[in-house]
C-alpha cells in the first residue's frame, strides 16, 4: 500500500464543517512559543508553520483533544464542535 498524505487521509472522512470554528488560538502567545508541540501532536496537521508563523485550520480536526493537552502555554481555547457538526466516523 502506498503512503498517503494527510490531505488524502482526511479526504476519506465525512465532515460537516461548522462555519464557526470550535478551536481558537491566541496567536500572540504562539509567537513566543519555541517548541510548538502542536506541530507534532495534531494527527490532522491543523497546525502549520508558514514563513515562521503558526497558522491553524480547524476544518480537518479529528476532535481528539491532543492539542488541548500538549499546549502548555494556554494558547488554545478548545471545545468540541456544536452538536451534529465536525467529523462523522463511519467505522470508528
Amino acid at each position: 500500500m502506498s503512503p498517503m498524505t494527510i490531505a488524502e487521509r482526511l479526504a476519506l472522512n465525512k465532515y460537516d464543517v461548522d462555519a464557526e470554528p470550535h478551536i481558537h488560538l491566541k496567536l500572540e502567545v504562539c509567537q513566543k512559543c519555541d517548541r510548538s508541540p502542536c506541530l507534532y501532536i495534531c494527527p490532522a496537521e491543523c497546525f502549520k508553520l508558514r514563513e515562521g508563523k503558526l497558522s491553524f485550520a480547524y476544518e480537518g480536526c479529528l476532535e481528539c483533544g491532543s492539542c488541548r493537552i500538549a499546549c502548555d502555554k494556554g494558547a488554545i481555547e478548545w471545545s468540541y464542535p456544536r452538536g451534529g457538526f465536525g467529523v462523522s466516523f463511519e467505522y470508528g
Partner: protein
Amino acid sequence: MDDVFDAIVVGAGPAGCAAAYRLAKEGLQVLVVERGKFAGSKNVTGGVLYGPVMNELIPSFSAEAPVERRIMHHVITLLSEKSSLSIDYNAGDSEKHNGFSVLRSRFDRWFARKVEEAGGIVATGLRADDLLWQDGRVAGIVAGGDNIAGRVVIAADGVNSLLAEKAGLGVKLSPDNVNQGVKEIIKLPPETIEERFNLSGESGTAIHFLGFCTQGVHGGGFLYTNRESLSLGVVVQLKTLVEHNLKGVDLLEGFKSHPTVRELVKGGTTVEYSAHLVPAGGLSMVPRLYTDGLLVVGDAAALVLATGRALEGINFALESGMAAAETVKRAKGKNDFTKQTLSVYEQLLAQSFVLQDLKTFQKSAQFLENARLYGVYPELACRLAERIFEVDGKPKKKAWQIMREEMKGKVSIWQMIRDAISAKGAT
C-alpha cells in the same frame, strides 16, 4: 412525565448507553444527549470488546449487535526494524473466546437504539455546553441554548470530559498520562482476511505489536480483524511524541510498511483515518467520582486499564455505567441525590473489577515508562530468533551464549533482572 428527568446522561458511548439502558429498564425517566450526528459517529477504539460484561447487560447482544468477529486468536508480535517474532495463542475450536472486534460507529449506534427501545430518550446532534446548578448542586445541563433539568447528571462524555471539569471532578490530563491512538480502517474481502489470518467463518484475530511500530518509543501497535476490514493503528504516549518530535501518522505509515505488516495489509484500501485519546495513568489519575447531583463514568473518570498487554476501556465503561445506574436507582428510591447517597457508586466500583483491576495494576503505568520495553527488548528478541534459526555452516552456540553476545552494550544482565522484577510487580 414531569419536566425533570430522573437522570441526564451526557454521551452515548458504552458508559453512557450502559447507564441509560439500565435506568430505562428500571422505568426511570432518562435522557441521553450525544453531540455526534448519530451515536458512535465520534467514537474510535482499537477495538476489541473484551469479556462477559456486555452479556450481563444484554444477554442476547452477540446475536443482535453488529459485532465483527469472535476473537479466537491472540497474538503478541515483537518488531525489530526488518523482522518480527510472534507468540500466537489460538483458542482452537473451543467455545471459549474472550471478545469481539467491533467498529464503534456501528456498535454504539445499535446500543443507543437499545436504550430507546428500553424507553430512554436519545437526543443526538446535541452537545451539552454546561452544567445547570441549583443551591450548590448539579441540577441538569445546558444544551442547545436550553436548560434541561435532571435529578442527577451522569458525565459519560469520554476522555476530554469538559463537563466533569466544570464540576471540579475532571481528570487531570497531561502529556504523560494520556496516549494518542491513530488508526486506519483497511478494506479487504472477507475471504482474503480469513485465508491470510488462518480464520474460519466468524473467528478473528487480535495482534498486539511492540517495538519498531513506535520506532522504539513508549507505545504499541495493533491489528484487529473485522468482517471486511482491518483495524490498524498505533497508540503512543503524548509526552513521547513531543519529546521525540514524532507524529502519530508517520509512525502509522512506518508500521504499515514494516515487512511483516505489509504482508498482512497487502491489497487493502484505506477507507477511514481517525484519532482518539485514551487515559493511561491508571488508578492514580482517577478523579473524585461523584458530587451532589453528578456521577462520572468511563473514560471521563479515566477508568481504563493499560497494562501493556492490551487496552481495556469498553468493559470498564460498561461496568461503571451499570454501577452508576444502580446508584441512581437507589437514590431515586430515597429521593435523595446528595453526594452521601451517591457515594454508593464508589463502593460498587470498589467491589467490582473496575477499581480492583486498577489497583492490582497500579504500578503498570510507571513500569510502561521503561524505554527498553519498546526498543532494546523487541530488537533483542528478534536478533536472538534470527541467530537461533540461522544455519550458517559454523559450529552452533547455545542460546544463552548468543543472548549474552547480543546483549552486550545494549542491556546488562542486572538491568534485565531488575526489569523482570518490576514486570512481575506491574503486569
